[in-house]
Amino acid sequence: MKTLLGAFTALVAASLIAVSAHAENLVLYTSQPNEDAQATVDAFKAANPGVDVEWVRDGTTKIMAKLMAEIEAGNPVADVLLIADTVTLQRMKEAGQLLNYTSPEAANYDAALYDVDGAYYSTKMITTGIIYNTAASLKPAGWKDLTEPEAKGLVTMPSPLTSGAALIHAQTLTGIDGFGWDYYKALAENGATAAGGNGGVLKAVATGEKAYGMVVDFMAVREKAKGAPVEFVFPAEGVSAVTEPVAILKTARNVDTAKKFVDFLLSEPGQQVSVKLGYIPARNGAALPEGFPARDSIKVLPIDAAAAVKNSEGDLKTFSGIFGTN
């Protein structure tokens, strides 16, 4: 018994040390998939020896809810945010929650890709298009194909309640002429499901649980390269896009390290990490990863950012009203 208790005490002590040792490090909140987040952090640590980064991954919406709760409780843990979309960060900037920082790397970026005051910087472009299983009967070419009878009960998509990219996607699509929320209602009537994040959609389609899905480009392209039976389509009407911006919180405890992190993501080597993971890089002149069509052949649909900020909550409720209760 004594040895058992001794072992437990040792375990507890060891984990206490492990837990408290994290206190002084850079804390990153991100919506990247686990493996990508780890790869990004590893590359940053390799470039900045002696720095430790602790990161948390969850869907953008969930991680923001967590952060907002922490801010409300007076104890925000994160130093740096690397999440799906600028809309969320614009709102935080307006609320005075972000630190303005002028990165020397910004010169290599299109002015549309970062905030003029330096509150946030886009790091890559992630479009949402259509993924389908190669065994599927229909080869979808446009968004409307997903409401066809052949796709009945076979479509899935990420939920804006979880994913920032999915919220922007819904706000973009509903802005197209002849789409609106009616398009999503038609999808729901066609038996489409909406839940969880992009990862779940990829899994469902690649494994053949569903035949078609709306999903972010890099996941589909990357999984196809690994041998999964999927194809990715940039639909005729165009794709929605998010730019996965990075921002430093005003309450950051490690401002210097946070700035280094921003610089690294925007730097040439940092962008190469993204390319290697299969993302379209944001930096001028960086080449696209394998498996993508030429950059100018991808038609990105516009989004009214101001309206998106204003309507987000209402749009979430509308969406969950259509999909949340079936």
Binding site: E35, D42, V56, T156, L202
Partner: protein
Amino acid sequence: MPRRSANRSSQPSWLLPFVVITVCLLSGLPLARLLYAGLRFSLEGKATGLFSEPSAWFAIRNTLMTATGGMVISVVLGASFAFVVTLTDIRAKGFFSFAFVLPMMIPPQVTALAWVQMSGPASPLLKTLGIAPPLGSPQPLYSLGGIMLLLGVQHAPLVFLALKAGLAALPRDGVEAARLSGAAPMRVFRDIIFPLAVPGLIAGAAIAFVSCVGNFGIPAILGIPASIFVLPTLVYSRLSSFGAGTFAEMAQLSMVIAVIAALGLVIQQRALRGRDYRIIGLSGQSAAFALGPLRSIAEAGFSLVLFFVLAAPLAALVASSLVPAYGVPLNIQTMSLHAYSEILFRQSVTLTAFANSLFLAGTTACGLLLVTVLTAYLLARRPGKLADLMTGLIEIPYALPGIVLAVAFILMFAAPLPLVNVSIYGTIWIILIAYFSSFFAVSLKPVASAFLQLDPSLEEAARLSGAGFGRRMRDILVPLIAPAAGASVILVFLIACSELTVSALLWSAGTQTLGVAIFNLDDSGSSDLASALSVLVVIMVVILMLALEMLAKHLPRGVLPWRN
């Protein structure tokens, strides 16, 4: 330690206040806070919008449906195992009991993950065997029926255990008298055994119902992808997507869950009342019924059920932890340990989760033990109204669904603590306190039953020879209850290690638990990583259960759930 004056009295003066204050802090206060918030918001008319939305009503309906369905399946499975194992001469009873109870100890989200990977077109196992359903076949488990089935499997051991305890105390002479007068086995069962088993059956069914209402892992993994929400998953997804603005709604939804759970508990209390009449006559160990040629059939049937509820899902879990990409069948060429090396050697998040869960489970198990030894001692030495009240208060947080408890703790600690102005929300300490509250009852039970079996005369003798409270504890009581204390520590450790519901709402940067890590990995599409981590957790659970099994002969009866 006690002063000189306390040495002579049987209990030191600080003991009673200490226990009362601890119980109030861990149980009374958070529950009162939840009740206050729920009632205040209701009176202010806040969040009435929630109940005008259909989603809340759908969730209530789904909760009642899945819990009822799950309960029925639990009763059918659990009762048939219990009857056969206790009443017949079936072989390998110990093995069957152990294996049947194992699913209860496996985290529900792992169970759900394993089943998903066993069935449907996505199953690496079925793909490997070449019998996967065609493209686009719906995953049959992503449905109300699927949730019911898994809730049933997960909670069947509860019915089994509740019933088995009662059946073991059956008066053997009544059965024998009936047999001697020539009654057929079915007649004996119908007229003697079954009526006596009914209270245990109802109690087991009620516990299963309450556990189904509170289960989070199964409806989260099976329901959320299909937009089927039950109350706990609705609370979770609302809170995690809309944040603190929904506290009012969450408090009210939690109260709805609490009320449903409380109804089940009341039924259980009723059923257990008047159970004492059974202890007439001798309860022997010999089996009442010889199955004859049916024995092999029963054994084969049991093995088949265990194969489907245990072996096949776990095999599927292992299979999907070994495939390199989605949609690829598993064979010697494709098999890869990538997922294991990723979670063990690259993902800092899993190591953090392991460290956190071990820290939380270890601290909860050992810390609670200090409290429970004192509490159990007091309850054993000072029975009465106050002791009953304390016991009740300790049991409520365990019986309540985890999500309700988590909401109560969020409400209590969302704002910085008064006086010290430190916030523990978003730190590991809020999870630790919630665990203390949630597992108090688990920790207390083995220790309390050990104290009740202790002969007071030993301690009395020591007291008369002048030994103080600390001395008596150290030299007499603690050594005697040591096995029970060990069991208490391992049981709490086991349950806390794989906990999901409480930590799902309370985790933050760097405080992910194993349960949360598995859930999030699956949620982000890395189901290979989620499977690999699950496999490791299952291995850990089995090792801990075997450790308890080895302690078993030193333990009071009824301490280990799967033995009695």
